[in-house]
Symmetry: C2
Subunit: 337 residues, 2 copies
């Protein structure tokens, strides 16, 4: 019988940490013009990416990111044991159709904007558990597809409050492997759905901050580590106000991470880009992790990070029926070598 | 390093087969009146189940099934390492809100009507891989929520073709454990998204049959077993016509399973119930597996089965944009002891 790797804790650790052997990113023009624009593999200026709908454009981005990640790993799709993927569209159709095109056994995920890290955590478990040699993880989002599905017709140009975030247009993919060169995943903390009663779908940062703080604090307790063990705590898409809220909640839990806490949504746009509170969407944590963060880790400027992607678990229907918004956050430790 | 449990094949086998220590089911009145009505734990006559929307009724069913499964396992929610759950509603809101209420670390899944088996397969991997002692798997669907989300306003009473299936109202849950009493999961075969070009969303059986046949044939090849190794091959919700199609495709692949092949969707309603081609929905494979099949296995009338839940990977949006419908099928071997 294999030894338990968690012993009743919420955090698992990997006996043979799976390796992130390749990543790939692709983003839209707004993301390309942002402070991290130079860290992405490709910037697509055309919002339709040559397709006739935004949904097909998003799908094309996801497929291209996945194909690039596979190619960079010197693999073929048939070498990959599992594709773990998801997106924000109803029934995760971006992931569904790319899964069809690639022909890799497909495990569909839905964790809202936390999906990239849900996939990294699960993929690492499947590899360290002995069930896979290679796992492909991928996510996508698109401002125009998300806006019209979750909010208003995109063309309507409805005014957005300053605490709203902007859905990142892009896709990210990573290949995890049992062996190889690259940063490793040493731990994963799967989060609980936390709901403190916030019900405004424009203010997702506030809805997700309690989940982010819960997962980060649980991770530190489980591993008996202090915040200074990590060079960086980085959440997915809390945005400016959500990040502040998470910081306060962490202080209440006895952890001061103020000197080492950032958020992918805060980093991806500059204040001049009028994205209000920052970026969001599955691709936000996806492209920042697979682009900027991987490059910083490989260059040795970051040695150990706790990445914590956050998701708001709502639908148009749940909002219309008066429900509040549970948040969720999944954390993964990524270490350079 | 743990030994690989698949060696490049699509099927994994479990060194210490995880045990299904408890299950629970709850269904609506139509399902209660069907041939398997006596095998379900509870039949709810009120389509709203005391709530003010169908979506909340579905959620209440899912929560109750999960709570019952936990209780029957003599556990508390805090003993469960992971909740693996999903449903058909946009952004899987049934699972999201039950995850919030139960407070168990939550891995959201989307595999359309294959989700129960996606969860059983993944849950078994997490346990056998050493990452969990107990995993809770659950799914739900509801005729009225699915009908109005995917097709027409429920009140409209649009005529349905005879090859259409009827979404099962109900919820199912199972607790998997490293040790204990009950049937075991010995193998899992995660399927690929297969699309032979069927584009009629009323004919999901035809869209899913190729995926079912692909996964079943792959499982037999990987395990080097002949069909007579199993007492029963049972698909999730192919319905009458989809089952026939899958049977033919299996014959083309060189496997005759005609004497031992059934479908949960065919079993759950009688022809007199006017459900046309049979049942469908996440709960179809869910309640038939967690109710009828578990009882047959525990009674020794079935010793070894290959359960193969099937999913149609479409959304209203993908259909409206002219896409065909990829199918997917995940298989799990359940053996009595």
């Amino acid at each position: 019988m294999p030894a338990p790797k968690k012993n009743g804790l919420q955090t698992v650790w990997f006996q043979n940490p799976p390796v992130i052997i390749s990543t790939a990113t692709i983003v839209g023009s707004k993301e390309g013009q942002g402070p991290l624009g130079h860290t992405f593999d490709k910037v697509v200026e055309d919002n339709y990416y040559g397709e006739n709908t935004w949904e097909k454009a998003e799908r094309r981005m996801l497929k291209e990111a996945m194909q690039n990640a596979i190619q960079r790993a010197n693999l073929q799709p048939q070498n990959i044991d599992y594709l773990l993927a998801g997106d924000l569209l109803n029934q995760i159709i971006s992931a569904d159709f790319v899964a069809r095109d690639l022909g890799i056994p497909f495990i569909g995920l839905y964790g809202a904007c936390s999906t990239m890290y849900e996939g990294l955590a699960l993929g690492a478990m499947l590899i360290d558990g002995g069930f896979a040699e290679y796992v492909l993880v991928g996510v996508s989002s698109h401002y125009s597809t998300a806006e019209r599905q979750y909010r208003y017709p995109t063309e309507q140009g409805t005014q957005r409050p300053l605490y709203a975030t902007w859905t990142v247009t892009g896709a990210a993919a990573a290949v995890l492997a049992r062996q190889g060169n690259g940063p490793v995943i040493t731990h994963a903390t799967i989060g609980k759905a936390i709901d403190l009663g916030q019900g405004d779908p424009m203010n997702m940062g506030a809805a997700m901050a309690p989940a982010a703080a819960d997962t980060m604090a649980r991770h530190l307790m489980d591993t008996q580590r202090q915040p200074d063990y990590y060079d960086l705590f980085i959440t997915g898409d809390l945005g400016t106000y959500g990040r502040e809220l998470a910081l306060k909640l962490m202080q209440q839990k006895g952890y001061d991470i103020s000197t080492r806490f950032s958020d992918c949504g805060v980093l991806i746009y500059s204040p001049e880009q009028d994205a209000h509170a920052g970026g969001s969407g599955c691709a936000c944590a996806g492209v920042v992790t697979c682009g900027y963060l991987m490059q910083e880790i490989k260059a040795g400027r970051l040695k150990r990070i706790l990445g914590v992607a956050t998701g708001a678990l709502l639908s148009l229907c749940s909002y219309q029926q008066g429900e509040t918004i549970p948040g969720i956050a999944h954390a993964v430790v990524i270490e350079g070598r």
